[in-house]
């Protein structure tokens, strides 16, 4: 038995996440954390310096959103492989070099997983047709990056976080 976390129990399961209850000794209420796979988020720009974005309906927020390409990292793939796969499936583009910008927590208060934020430069349309993810459209964002904050659909904290890392690392100019 792990003395630092003596009681751990899965109290809810869905295909996408599970809830872990941990009850340290002498504490009345269990602490709940949400477990789900890590996620790759990609700041991708083409050779004209345009940012690649995806638009999709998000039931949790009941909105069409504009976000960076992103998706779960499956247990049989590396974060880099997942980033390349998501870019292909969501946008039909191939990443050249891929650089890890940072790894962050989507919610330090509640989630156990991490967001792996990548920068992909000089992305190009795939030469061969790719199976594309249904319900996800892509676009090149042609406006100034500062304008993103005024786009009503651009509300993903994960996208904001990866953009901050790309700017701080000098990969994007604002």
């Amino acid at each position: 038995m792990d003395q630092s976390n003596p009681k751990r129990e899965i109290v809810f399961r869905s295909p996408w996440f599970q809830i872990l209850a941990r009850q340290p000794p002498g504490v009345d209420q269990p602490y709940y954390a949400i477990q789900s796979p890590d996620v790759a988020v990609i700041v991708a720009v083409n050779d004209r310096g345009e940012l690649l974005l995806v638009r999709q309906f998000r039931p949790a927020v009941d909105l069409m959103t504009l976000e960076l390409p992103a998706g779960h990292i499956e247990s049989d793939e590396t974060p880099e492989e997942a980033a390349r796969k998501e870019l292909r499936e969501e946008t039909g583009h191939e990443a050249g070099t891929l650089e890890l910008l940072t790894k962050v927590s989507p919610s330090t208060a509640r989630f156990t997983n991490r967001l792996w934020c990548f920068f992909a430069s000089n992305v190009k349309p795939c030469q061969r047709a790719q199976p594309r993810e249904a319900g996800v459209d892509f676009l090149y964002y042609e406006r100034d990056i500062r304008s993103l904050l005024d786009e009503k659909e651009f509300i993903s904290a994960a996208s904001y976080a990866a953009m901050f890392a790309a700017v701080v690392r000098g990969r994007l100019k604002i």
Copy 2:
């Protein structure tokens, strides 16, 4: 009955969040969304331009983290009131002007709530002693903001998101 979301059911409750299952007609699997109160996140700087950060243990990530001051917006308070209260309780500082930078979703895939990101300039220690939140320490971040990405404890996507908004809005220089 709401035709657009005909079946909704709370399938798990904790004191901090609840899980809502929605099953659109003709769909086999319910869709799960996590409901919890909105959160205020505060980019706060003092008159020397130093950023105010808080350090605390976060069980979900099993780490001491360094984050922007933040906390739940209770049902009886405005987002601005919550931001001022969190700043007082977590850091013992009083905000002067408070500006809403942006409102984002902590997870467009899973959470229904929003993060209200504020900028507070010229914050000052409260003149009268305040009840302080247990287990939360504050500090002035004296290094360059670019250094934040290399701080192992600075992993909160919510903090990254609010920082991106503060930089894009011209409130912080990097």
